[in-house]
Amino acid sequence: MFGRRVGGRLALPILLAVGFLTLIALSLASIWLHGRAQRDAERATAAHALETKLVSLLVHLRRAESGQRGYLLSGDPRFLLTHRLAIDAVLPALAEIEAALANNPVQREAFAPLKPQVIEKLDELRETIRRYDTGDTAGAIALFKTGAGRQNMENITAIVERMQEGGERQLALESAQFQQTQRIVLAAELSGMALIVAVALMSFFLSWRSMRDQQTAQQKLRDNNAALESTVAERTRYLLDANNEIQSFASIVSHDLRSPLVNIMGFTSELETFRKNMFERLAALRAQAPGPDAENDDAALGGEFDEAVEFIKGSIAKMDRLINAILVISREGGRNLRAESVDMTALVRAVADGYMHRTLEIGAEITVEPLPAMTIDRLAIEQVFSNLLDNAVKFMRTDVPGRIHVKGREMPFTVVYEVRDNGRGIDPKDAERVFELFRRSGMRDRQGEGIGLAHVRALVRRLGGSIRLESEPGEGCTFTVTLPKRWIDPSTDWKQQ
């Protein structure tokens, strides 16, 4: 899987690179071939030019020869003119041939014996003409008859023919080589093109596969999202049901607990009435039949009765408060929250002002920094700060002036508020416990049922946030409330948010 994925990821760039390299190679081959063809064409032209020059050399020599013969035969000076003109053209033609052979060592070798032969021939021609012009016609004829000149001419013709053949051979050889090269290049180009086509096809296939994989992945993602959505909706429904159940449970339990409590309290009061009636009657009887120490006995009896009743009433009152607390929290859970824009600085300062008389009394001070505003349920957030400040004021130390400081900051997705005090603090091992209902930490010298922080946590959770406590005993504590910037009511359909 991993290897295939890596291969798939690298294959496309590799293919593209191969394609480009092939194209570059093909272009280079093309350019080279073109150069080669041009060079060959130049060579062919040069070979043809050499051919022409060789032929014209021969023509000039033959014209010189025929002019010489015509002059010797007729003595007509026009033949002499033809002869002279031809003779004058021979050496330049020879020089041209020599120049054209500068880059051709093979032909130069063949050319080497030509020049002496030509010069010899020219000497012979000039000598016959000189002898004839000086009147030595017989000498001229004799020289002519030696056949040296004819031999000369034959040699020259043979050399020129050899050179012509050599040029043709060279041309044919090069032409064959060129054709061979052309075939190779053609084959290379064809295979290059085939490679490019293959690369293109593979690229196409890879792209197609990648696209298909992507589509499959997207489909899978959509399926997963859909499954996730339905799972979340299901869980949310389940949680809401569970929450509602707990709330109605708390409500029913507190009602049903309260009902017998009404009887206990009511009939305890009845007992007190009985006691009053009984002791009145007892006092009346005592008046009729007084006994030693009887009144003290009666008073002791009455005291014990009162003590018992007081304990019962105290417990009832406590139980009543606890049940009320459960009712309050269960009702808070059932209340519909309503998000509105809240100026937190003003709200917390107003709450702090509510504790003014108590802070003045104990010499404490509450400072509130400017806080980030929020869109939230006003009553709920007010209760959160009210309970936190109440807690802080309640558990001030007596040895230092109380300082309570509220500050806040905005984070990317949340708003964080801190309530810091220098009170007696909370043992870290109780940091979680203080948020539980009816649980308290430290000395029990202050009034309270252990409801405030439980209530705060329930509220903060309903607002979608969390609360954390950092504390050292004797150092004070810091409650950090983290709330989402955008409150989402979990009881509405979350998908519509």
Binding site: H255, R258, S259, P260, L261, V262, N263, M265, G266, F267, T268, S269, E270, E272, I316, A317, D320, R331
Partner: protein
């Protein structure tokens, strides 16, 4: 003058006894008919079990039906619609209190645990009973 009969609809014997005791102590001497559940209350009110002018003390938490249903039925009944109803319950839920008043209950009293408040409430209830003008039944 016809004596007004107090119908006490209350499933808890203790509560019923406390209410009765404290009514008597407050000087209320009207006959009291107690219904211990919703069914007998319905029988008494709508089945002709109780006659004459009535005043209903109604507990909302009944084992077999909700007191709210009895209140609603009573207040929409052509004959008994004007019968005064005092709702006595342990709950002081604002929504529930409002609902009872909306349905036409005359007084809503939360059963207190504190005896003094309870006595006071019942005293006031007795006072209310003595001054209230029970309308002539049709």
């Amino acid at each position: 003058m016809n004596a007004v009969t107090i119908i006490l609809i209350e499933d808890d014997d203790g509560h019923a006894r406390l209410v009765e005791k404290n009514l008597r102590r407050a000087g209320v001497s009207n006959p009291i008919t107690r219904c211990a559940d919703g069914e007998s209350a319905v029988q008494c009110l709508f089945g002709g079990g109780c006659a004459g002018q009535l005043l209903v003390l109604l507990d909302l938490n009944l084992p077999d039906m909700s007191g709210i249903d009895i209140l609603q039925r009573l207040k929409t009944d052509s004959k008994l619609g004007r019968t005064p109803v005092v709702v006595l319950t342990t709950a002081d839920d604002k929504i529930e209190v409002q609902r009872c008043y909306d349905l036409g209950c005359n007084v809503y009293i939360t059963k207190p645990v504190d005896y003094e408040h309870f006595a006071n409430a019942v005293q006031q209830l007795g006072l209310f009973l003595s001054v209230v003008q029970i309308p002539e039944t049709a």
